[in-house]
């Protein structure tokens, strides 16, 4: 497929799929709590409503930053998701696009943080400082895990080449070697924190600091922030499913010919990943405190990611 066409068509696709994912997540969450829950297309209703609400900018806010940051956040996460998706579909890879995707994801959450801080609300300030420490906790293991792909058997940081490597070995990357397995585990452990769901929703804890940096956002800004969050959650799960668990590679060369089938398998795998790393934890755990979360991330995922890099240097 032509790269430009793939890139452009992936914008609406990313939006629709990530919102659907969020709807499914909410539905399953509700069913696990023994209730019916909202319809699956609920996020669409929410967005339509939010975009048509009044814009209120608090007096204490620095207006420009407050207004622009949600847009940057949404743009960055959509761009990241569509780069990932289009590079999966089309054979034309940009060199180092894995790092680019990770950067854009981090960028989107940083933009939200800064925008929230600009609102001047004390709760937003606490949310900012909490998110900052959380990002230090989870971004480092995540980046190390991604970099270990470059040290490992695929020896590249390009999505397209990683996929081709998996197809050539006819095995998903996470199964192929010990180092990649631990890198995949690191990423999976980091998803709840990056998506900021219970037990790691400390920066947005509703009952403690009332959504943290989102407290003053309302109407269209909140809609943009919601899009940014939904899309970046989707991107994270898709990233793991494409880079580490590319199940279509079991089909061999056919995976590259029947793009539709391989894409739908990828989406199904990322849905499963979302269920396991976002929906289930937020149903069965209580929220941790920031110190405890920090300790957890620097105990387990960081150790795992360093292990993966050591293993891949050794060549396991």
């Amino acid at each position: 497929m032509d790269a430009a066409v793939a890139f452009i068509t992936s914008f609406p696709l990313v939006l629709v799929v990530s919102l659907l994912f969020e709807g499914i997540d909410r539905k399953i969450h509700a069913r696990m709590q023994k209730r019916i829950g909202p319809p699956i297309i609920q996020p669409f209703y929410d967005l339509i409503k939010l975009f048509n609400k009044e814009r209120i900018i608090p007096v204490t806010a620095s207006t420009r930053v407050f207004e622009i940051m949600p847009m940057i956040a949404a743009a960055a996460s959509i761009l990241g998701a569509s780069i990932l998706l289009s590079n999966t579909l089309s054979g034309l890879g940009m060199i180092g696009d894995l790092i680019l995707v990770m950067y854009l994801l981090a960028m989107s959450s940083i933009a939200l943080m800064v925008g929230g801080l600009a609102s001047g609300n004390p709760y937003a300030a606490i949310g900012f400082s909490r998110k900052m420490s959380m990002m230090i906790a989870y971004e480092i293991p995540m980046f190390i895990a991604i970099i270990s792909v470059a040290f490992g058997p695929p020896a590249v940081l390009t999505i397209d080449r990683v996929i081709k490597f998996q197809i050539s070995t006819r095995l998903p990357l996470a199964v192929s070697s010990l180092s990649m397995a631990s890198a995949a585990a690191t990423l999976l452990l980091c998803i709840p924190a990056a998506a900021s769901v219970v037990p790691f929703d400390i920066p947005e804890a509703k009952t403690e600091i009332i959504y943290g940096f989102l407290i003053e956002y309302g109407g269209p800004y909140l809609a943009l922030a919601k899009i940014a969050k939904a899309v970046s959650n989707f991107t994270l799960t898709l990233l793991v499913s494409v880079v580490f668990l590319y199940i279509p590679s079991l089909l061999g060369e056919e995976a590259l010919i029947n793009l539709g089938i391989s894409l739908s398998i990828c989406l199904a795998v990322s849905l499963l990943i979302m269920f396991a790393t976002i929906t289930v934890p937020r149903t069965i755990f209580a929220r941790l405190k920031i110190g405890q979360a920090f300790k957890f991330y620097w105990m387990l995922p960081l150790a795992l990611s360093i292990l993966s890099i050591i293993l891949s240097v050794i060549g396991l």
Binding site: A286, R287, Q292
Partner: protein
């Protein structure tokens, strides 16, 4: 030298602290209270409390109304422990009027009392789960609570305000079918509460509630905290055992007072969970030994009200949150001269300060919830002008005059 360093430290604390108004409108608080929390980083260094957001002037309103009207008015002091309030008030009236309710009425009063305790404790367990972000446990607990509310609706006709008490007895009787239903429900509730108890020992929950909000035994005695808050700190007090009222005198052997020595949030939570089991035991004993007889005097309630002479009495009950005290002074013609209510939360709120200082921001809602604050109980007859920061004491007589005038106007 050390003094200098202290001053230096104080200046630094003053410079780096952030004052956060926690409430009065906050999703963690179902009722408005304002906690001015000063934090440094995540650590709480100082707490200041401002009450009075739910102050409705009930004690004053009661003085302008007759006893029956007051009975339903004071039921609206609190929606969670409404039966405790009316029981306490009615007991005082009966003492003044020399009316003895029948055995069956007393047993029924106790039955509703204990059911209310179960419902209140389950509600609190749900709220604690909600504060720590454990939504599923919250949903589960509140679903179990629905069963108790169903029973309330079947027995008394409303889920929250039971309107069970009347002068000299109770208003609704139990039918044999209801007895069976209560028994069956109690079995279900017992099973579910055992499950909830198990889930409260989950790792993430334990990380959030253990070793937090410590209120030592000495502090608890010094600050006169009551109810489960005191019992969680090892203070062995319970009005039901110490000054038995209603039918508790005869049910003494069917329950024991739960005392924990953990002093933290978890201890207070566990006291409540174990008290639910004790309440179930009491309810079973009541159903076994429910005496026959009339539930209320044959006389018209209006005539009974007229028959209450001038006098005063103090009454005590053990509400779900602790000791509840009423002082009632009647005027002999069916009205009240003075009503004074001291609610358990009023005593317990003072205990919050030693609990909160030194904890993290994340712990504030959990600790506040752990004393089970019932602020609508607490806020009465303190007039404080918050905006100007001055307390505005209005002369009682002029206040009474103004209130009468408004009541007439409407």
């Amino acid at each position: 030298m050390t003094a200098e360093r202290d001053v230096e430290r104080e200046v630094e604390v003053e410079y780096t602290r952030l004052r956060i108004p926690f409430g009065p409108i906050h999703p963690a608080l179902k009722e408005p209270v304002l906690l001015r929390v000063s934090v440094r980083g995540e650590e709480v260094v100082d707490v200041d409390m401002a009450l009075g957001h739910v102050h409705r002037g009930i004690e004053l309103l009661a003085e302008g109304r007759n006893l029956i009207q007051t009975l339903y008015l004071i039921e609206r002091i609190c929606g969670i422990c409404s039966h405790s309030h009316t029981t306490c008030f009615i007991q005082a009236l009966e003492e003044i009027g020399g009316i003895t309710p029948s055995k069956r009425a007393l047993y029924l009063r106790t039955l509703i009392f204990e059911m209310e305790r179960i419902h209140s404790h389950l509600l609190l367990l749900g709220v604690i789960a909600y504060e720590i972000g454990f939504d599923t446990l919250f949903m589960f607990t509140w679903h179990v609570r629905e069963k108790i509310l169903d029973l309330f609706e079947k027995i008394t006709g409303n889920r929250i305000h039971h309107a069970m008490n009347t002068i000299g007895g109770v208003r609704w009787d139990l039918t044999p079918r209801m007895v069976e239903e209560i028994d069956a429900y109690m079995r279900e509730v017992e099973k579910s509460v055992k499950y909830i108890h198990n889930v409260f020992m989950d790792g993430t929950v334990e990380k959030r509630v253990c070793g937090l909000g410590v209120l030592s035994y000495d502090d608890a005695v010094k600050l006169c905290v009551v109810g489960p808050t005191a019992r969680g700190s090892g203070v062995d007090i319970d009005v039901r055992r110490d000054h038995p009222y209603a039918a508790y005198d005869e049910l003494k052997r069917d329950f024991s007072v739960v005392v924990e020595r953990g002093c933290d949030v978890y201890a207070r939570t566990e006291v409540r969970i174990l008290e639910i089991f004790e309440s179930i035991n009491i309810i079973r004993a009541i159903l076994d030994r429910l005496p026959d007889g009339p539930i209320r005097p044959k006389e018209n309630v209006f005539r009974l009200m007229r028959g209450i002479p001038e006098g005063e009495a103090i009454s005590l009950v053990e509400a779900p949150r602790g000791e509840l005290l009423y002082f009632v002074k009647t005027d002999g013609s069916g009205g009240l001269k003075r009503l004074k209510v001291r609610t358990p939360t009023f005593s317990n709120l003072i205990g919050l300060k030693p609990m909160l200082i030194g904890c993290e921001i994340a712990d504030v809602p959990v600790i506040v919830a752990s004393i089970d604050p019932c602020l609508s109980c607490t806020n009465r007859l303190i007039v404080i002008d918050q905006e100007r920061g001055e307390s505005n004491v209005i002369d009682v007589d002029s206040l009474r005059h103004r209130v009468r005038r408004r009541w007439m106007r409407q």
